[in-house]
């Protein structure tokens, strides 16, 4: 009678026991190995936690800046001209008192030359074309009537 492949309850206990003795090796990790593995894991988890926190803070800051830049045109429409909002200066990379396409180009040139520095405009942890685009977007919004 063919053996039913679905049932293996009749596997000999003695065979299972001997297989266990043969293959279930009595090996233990040294305390030094334990500690090395755990220390590296903790360092990794702590490092990722810090990075995540920094990204969240940067992201929140960028969001505040973008929202403020969008709201300023409404607020300032009925107010007398005033000095540029301090937050806009973050995007004023060439420090000419205005945020425009020239700032976006300045960042692009810096990236191309490998001198991107700390201009992570969108808070994603890297300085690349997306940060150039972020400045360009702000410049366009500011062009639509924000005080300079």
């Amino acid at each position: 009678m063919p053996h039913d492949p679905a049932e293996f309850d009749d596997f000999p206990d003695a065979l299972a026991a001997d297989l266990g003795r043969l293959y279930r090796a009595d090996v233990t990790a040294s305390p030094a190995v334990d500690q090395a593995i755990l220390n590296r894991a903790r360092a990794h988890v702590a490092g990722r936690k810090r990075t995540l926190l920094l990204r969240r803070v940067a992201g929140a800051a960028a969001a505040v800046i973008l929202i403020t830049a969008a709201v300023i045109p409404t607020i300032s429409r009925n107010r007398p001209p005033r000095a540029p909002v301090a937050r806009q200066l973050i995007y004023d990379l060439n420090a000419d008192g205005a945020v425009d396409i020239r700032d976006a180009l300045a960042l692009q040139r810096s990236i191309d030359a490998g001198r991107a520095g700390a201009h992570d405009m969108n808070g994603d942890g890297v300085v690349d074309k997306r940060d150039v685009d972020a400045i360009a977007m702000i410049a366009v919004r500011l062009d639509k009537g924000v005080a300079r």
Binding site: F8, A14, G20, R24, A25, V27
Partner: protein, 185 residues
């Protein structure tokens, strides 16, 4: 020194780790350390290599965080990692044995009475006579106590294939004069 046994499930420990609780990794480590080490030793037959594989396996695991999703049992998830790391190590060291004597030297518990040693050598040789897939399936089921579903998930084959491999492995062992005695009524 291992901490007191953590009552949290693997899923809860994974969630805690994803949330940045580094201590949850300690619990996972001590929960699976010995099993991983034994499995690595089974592949590598070398204490130092097994400890290397242990370190690499847990390095692989903690690098998965903080976005890790455990969709199967931890054993099922880690088995292919241990296997692949072990095989990579073996390929580097070119360790291969096929004779009963060689197998006997590698097997734990070798230092036994002559009759017992002879019996173990026979069993080791009979196991070596199985294909790698059949041998692996037998060991996962009857030494590591994995269920059919866990074996299927760990080895990447359907449950039906696992059952078929077990069926053929046992049939081969029943016919092998070196271990036929286990199946005598």
């Amino acid at each position: 020194m291992p901490p007191p046994t953590d009552p949290r499930s693997d899923l809860d420990l994974v969630a805690a780790l994803n949330a940045g609780d580094a201590a949850a990794f300690d619990a996972l480590y001590y929960r699976y350390r010995d099993r991983i080490l034994r499995l690595a030793y089974r592949f590598t037959a070398n204490h130092a290599d097994a400890q290397d594989v242990l370190q690499e396996t847990f390095s692989y695991l903690y690098r998965k965080f903080p976005a890790f999703r455990l969709t199967a049992s931890m054993t099922t998830f880690l088995y292919p990692v241990v296997r692949n790391l072990s095989l990579e190590l073996i390929r580097k060291r070119r360790a291969a044995t096929t004779t009963s004597a060689d197998l006997l030297e590698e097997m734990p518990g070798f230092a036994a009475a002559p009759d017992e040693a002879h019996a173990r050598a026979d069993l080791a040789a009979a196991m070596a006579n199985l294909s790698p897939e059949h041998r692996q399936t037998v060991l996962l089921r009857f030494v590591d106590d994995l269920t059919m579903e866990e074996i299927a998930a760990a080895t990447g084959v359907p449950v039906g294939t696992v059952k078929s491999r077990l069926h053929h492995a046992l049939a081969a062992m029943r016919e092998d004069p070196r271990v036929r005695r286990y199946f005598a009524p």
